[in-house]
């Protein structure tokens, strides 16, 4: 099962429940939504989609299926921007 984690090149800080990310290679800065911040925070360690979805479902009181769909739609964006690393 594919696992994901934060790219260690990214500096970040959570401010009032929203992560602010700085990509140290490009200097690009991004602010994540509260849901995205929860996903990001979970990825401080290697996680599967299921593990992340379980966290989101618990925190935001949605079904695991709904949370998984959201995570699956959001993760590729983080991966394509090289903010998150996809591990085998």
């Amino acid at each position: 099962m594919t696992r994901y984690r934060q790219n260690r090149e990214i500096a970040w800080r959570a401010v009032e429940g929203q992560a602010i990310l700085i990509d140290t290679r490009e200097g690009m800065m991004r602010q994540l939504s509260p849901v995205a911040t929860l996903v990001w925070d979970a990825l401080e360690e290697e996680r599967t989609v299921e593990e992340i979805a379980a966290r989101v479902a618990e925190r935001f009181d949605v079904t695991v299926e709904r949370a998984r769909a959201d995570v699956e739609s959001f993760l590729p964006t983080l991966v394509s921007r090289n903010l998150v690393v996809e591990l085998a």
């Binding site: 260690r8 970040w12 800080r13 009032e16 700085i22 140290t24 200097g27």
Partner: protein, 274 residues
């Protein structure tokens, strides 16, 4: 020849320029800022033939340990931050070559400030005598306009483009720096000022202040903490932590403003002079 001392927020820098032509142009540029003080660091500038050189405003170089290394096409050399000494060569026969020297000084003074826990910030700053107000934004946002309007309204300009920010006893504090933007102002307030408020500038048809949520404020201020070189992850994390601490201590708002000084009626401080 110039052998003079340029003050900066983290100390005082002895500048030696032996070439007469370069010395004259540097005198025109920084002469008013030179002081009679004991320097804690020194830079020597010489001129050299660099046939391939042309004016390029980019600050090209790198930091290697404690060495600030300039690698511009018209300026080369290095400064050791630990030793407080360095030597650079500036291209001869390049129009605006004194600006290479200006860029070398920016690199060195920014790093000297950073070692003293002072962050260079791309912002305008003015003081009302007791405290300072910062107006940040990208080039063209109105920093110089705000500075000049504020000066005309009796506020003391600290800088229209760059300042140093630090936390002193938990209070965000601003100090001017020797480099300014396009302003015609040539006399700036000296000293340190506690920061009373920060504003992200937006030119508009109305004057309006809209408080920024803390995450957006931290993001905006982090963008203003500029650098001439790539920062490490730890340094970027430090910039975020610093911006967060500043935004926790003072209000940060978007200031939509017209190009006239009435925006100060919304901010409402006392004026130091008129």
């Amino acid at each position: 020849m110039i052998d003079a001392v340029l003050p900066h927020p983290a100390g005082a820098l002895r500048i030696v320029v032996r070439d007469e032509s370069l010395a004259r142009r540097i005198g025109d540029r920084f002469g008013a800022l030179f002081v009679d003080a004991k320097p804690d660091a020194a830079i020597e500038f010489a001129v050299a033939d660099m046939p391939e050189a042309y004016w390029d405003e980019s600050l090209r170089g790198r930091l290697e340990g404690t060495r600030v290394i300039a690698e511009m096409n018209g300026a080369r050399g290095e400064f050791d931050l630990a030793a407080g000494a360095g030597r650079f060569e500036i291209a001869r026969h390049v129009e605006w070559s004194e600006l290479f020297l200006d860029n070398v000084l920016r690199m060195v003074i920014v790093e000297l400030g950073y070692r003293a826990k002072m962050w260079i910030c791309h912002t305008a700053a003015v003081a009302d005598g007791a405290a300072a107000y910062l107006f940040f934004g990208v080039s063209g946002a109105g920093k110089t306009t705000v500075t000049e309007l504020s000066a005309a309204a009796g506020f003391a300009p600290i800088n229209d483009d760059l300042v140093f920010l630090s936390m002193e006893g938990g209070v965000p504090t601003v100090t001017g720096c020797p480099f300014h933007g396009a302003t015609r102002i040539r006399r700036f307030a000296n000293g340190k000022f506690p920061v009373r408020a920060l504003f992200a500038l937006e030119q508009s048809g109305v004057n309006e202040i809209v408080p920024l949520p803390r995450p957006a404020a931290v993001l905006a201020l982090s963008r203003a903490l500029v650098t001439w070189r790539a920062r490490s992850r730890d340094e970027q994390a430090g910039a975020l932590a610093f911006a967060d601490a500043v935004c926790a201590a003072v209000p940060v708002s978007t200031l939509r403003f017209r190009k006239e000084p009435a925006f100060w009626e919304l901010i409402g401080p006392k004026r130091s002079a008129s």
